[in-house]
Symmetry: C2
């Protein structure tokens, strides 16, 4: 096919293949989102009816206002905003609650963008270790809070932990962690980048002061889109409006929210996020089926002797880290195509996602695959194993 | 037409009308950008070939790396990055150069998002007044720098002035302002939200340390996209890489750029910005023609006695503030539809853009209109004036 312009080939990976790429699976657009992109491509396309009080989340046509309210309800939080990605949500919270030199407690496999948001503020990030099952426990959170208090004389100003982490796709005991934070009086940010939009997330039940979601990771939306939801108490802090005034002009900026820098996501990504939302809201109800499918896959995958699943078992999330060092990895050592033999074999069977040449530890995500696709995926692994005499 | 989902109507304003809305005109997507949205809608669609060193602006397929280099060259600056909107570019620069309590000098009609970025940092913004022609002069910049120094004991840490302002669309003497800043040793940020992508911008010639552009405002790209370009000296500061390290894990994040929070704009908006770029690069060469067209319009518009152009004349930019208080405004006082009579009359002639009911001071933007459209627009104003006995 002709390129769109030189250097930009038409991309048809989702149309042509079963895609198990770890971060792409739950961000795949719905048909409605794709229609929205065609109709609302221009950046200011949502501003045709920007009437008083002149703020993005108050616009009624298209129904951004209602969507913003729906988002808060969806997460069972008091207020929500669409922001320019989950990482911007982290930064908005950090800038609002943490001063230079103060500490934020994160997981030792927390996302790098959270660490950068803290570093940008001139603050420090400290890590909670994982236990032997690669889980952040509430006991370890409490103990790390104590040690920070002992060393620095102050409590961390924020605790930010993933609901499901990006390394193993493990589900962490966030309700208990939230409880610990509440006991210490430290606000708790739940990083739901892999869960908001895929599985049910009830922010209040999870004792979260903030819930962060990622549109392009788990809400079938384009980038850069994120959701920041907060309790009433903390909404007043992070969504505070501007207070400054021009020394010459005397102008003020009314209801513009300082940390959001005013309007956030406009046009294509916002409307596509909204357009996918009815399906996203429904799909989280099918989470048990998604979990059943990934567990079917891991069971089949483990029939190849030597294969390992590095994530917790049984799987509680579709993002899964596997290790085939002892199986396909061994084959790659003597194969003339090295590790590429394996991803080529997958590709021949209509499957893409693992990075080219991957035969050791790598992640996959089965989110959104149908049962017949899951069976084809599982059978393909077994088939390749048979072809290379591994079973 | 059926809505995309309830609450999201199909938008066909650009297809059905001549649109002179002030902020939409130069952000209108190209055909190539619209193709890119269809093909690269998913957020992580640009990550298929994210190979070492694992950074967005280093990806070769699609050609993000080359595009990033092209952008810097286009602006005649040393380095450039795509960021999540011009306002994020402001914030990145402010966070990098300004500490809490320090001062940033802005125009008294500078964009509110710049003021919010400063406020978010806990810093102060101070304004340069406009002269009687609504222009920020280099003398006034120098004099305000002196008074800040006198009052606070320190120079401002940054001067940020618009190339063309959003209120009048006036062109400011930014090369001279940049020269003044250089004399004081203060970095100068050129806000090119209305000029980068519409008219030629040579950052070095304009004595800019930073050039900021807006993809959705002036580069035929979706939101939220912005460009931040810097000289070599300041690129090292604003694009500095992360230095922090995990206290438990020992992990570092290598070449991730702290203030950018790592990867910035992915997927649809980025690829669409790239897809429009060849046409954008060409179109700035036709700027003289755009200016000729807007001046044709203002000349015709001023044939209606009482009409005023509040922007500088002759026009140097297509964004123009007009005032029809004494003409259509007078009619609106007794018309049963009030000011809506006027925008209805425009709409009957296939023209949209001024906010509904506008008959006093309002902005329009003729960017991208063909000569026949400009003539139709001008004739429509005159025709409506004749219909209401204003000429």
């Amino acid at each position: 096919m002709e390129p769109i312009i030189p250097g930009i080939q038409v991309r048809s990976r989702e149309e042509d293949y079963i895609n198990i790429q770890p971060i792409q699976a739950a961000g795949r657009l719905t048909l409605e989102a794709r229609k929205a992109l065609i109709s609302y491509g221009d950046g200011y396309s949502v501003c045709d009816f920007c009437l008083r009080p002149f703020r993005l989340d108050k616009i009624h046509k298209p129904a951004i206002n209602q969507f913003t309210l729906d988002l808060a309800e969806f997460l069972n939080m008091d207020e929500a905003r669409v922001v320019r990605g989950a990482r911007r949500a982290f930064q908005i919270v950090v800038n609002s609650l943490v001063e230079k030199g103060e500490t934020v407690l994160v997981s030792s496999i927390g996302h790098y963008s959270l660490a950068l948001a803290v570093e940008s503020r001139g603050a420090l990030w400290r890590e909670v270790p994982l236990n032997e099952e690669n889980i952040v426990t509430s006991e370890d959170v409490a103990s790390k809070i104590d040690s920070i208090k002992k060393e620095s004389g102050s409590l961390p100003k924020l605790v930010a932990i993933h609901h499901v982490d990006y390394q193993f796709g493990n589900l962490h005991p966030v309700a208990e962690i939230g409880k610990v934070c509440r006991d210490y009086g430290i606000p708790f940010l739940l990083n739901g980048a892999y869960t908001v939009g895929t599985m049910p997330v009830d922010g209040k039940k999870l004792n979260a002061d903030f819930v962060v979601g990622s549109g392009h990771k788990s809400m079938a939306a384009p980038a850069p889109t994120g959701v920041l939801a907060a309790t009433e108490e903390y909404a007043a802090k992070v969504f505070r409006t501007t207070k400054a005034e021009g020394d010459v002009s005397g102008r003020k900026f009314g209801i513009k929210e300082t940390e959001l820098l005013g309007c956030t996501v406009m046009g294509a990504p916002l409307v596509a996020l909204m357009a996918s939302f009815p399906k996203v809201r429904e799909r989280v109800k099918n989470w048990d089926d998604e979990v059943e499918k990934v567990n079917y896959f891991t069971q089949e995958f483990l029939k190849i002797p030597g294969n390992k699943v590095l994530s917790e078992l049984p799987r509680k999330h579709t993002l899964t880290k596997v290790d085939t060092t002892e199986t396909f990895g061994k084959v790659s050592e003597t194969h003339k195509k090295k590790g590429y033999f394996f991803t080529n074999e997958l590709s021949k069977r209509g499957i893409v996602g693992p990075f080219p040449g991957a035969t050791h530890a790598y992640k996959i995500n089965t989110y959104g695959l149908s049962w017949s696709q899951i069976k084809h995926l599982s059978e393909s692994y077994l088939d390749i194993a048979r072809e290379y005499d591994l079973i």
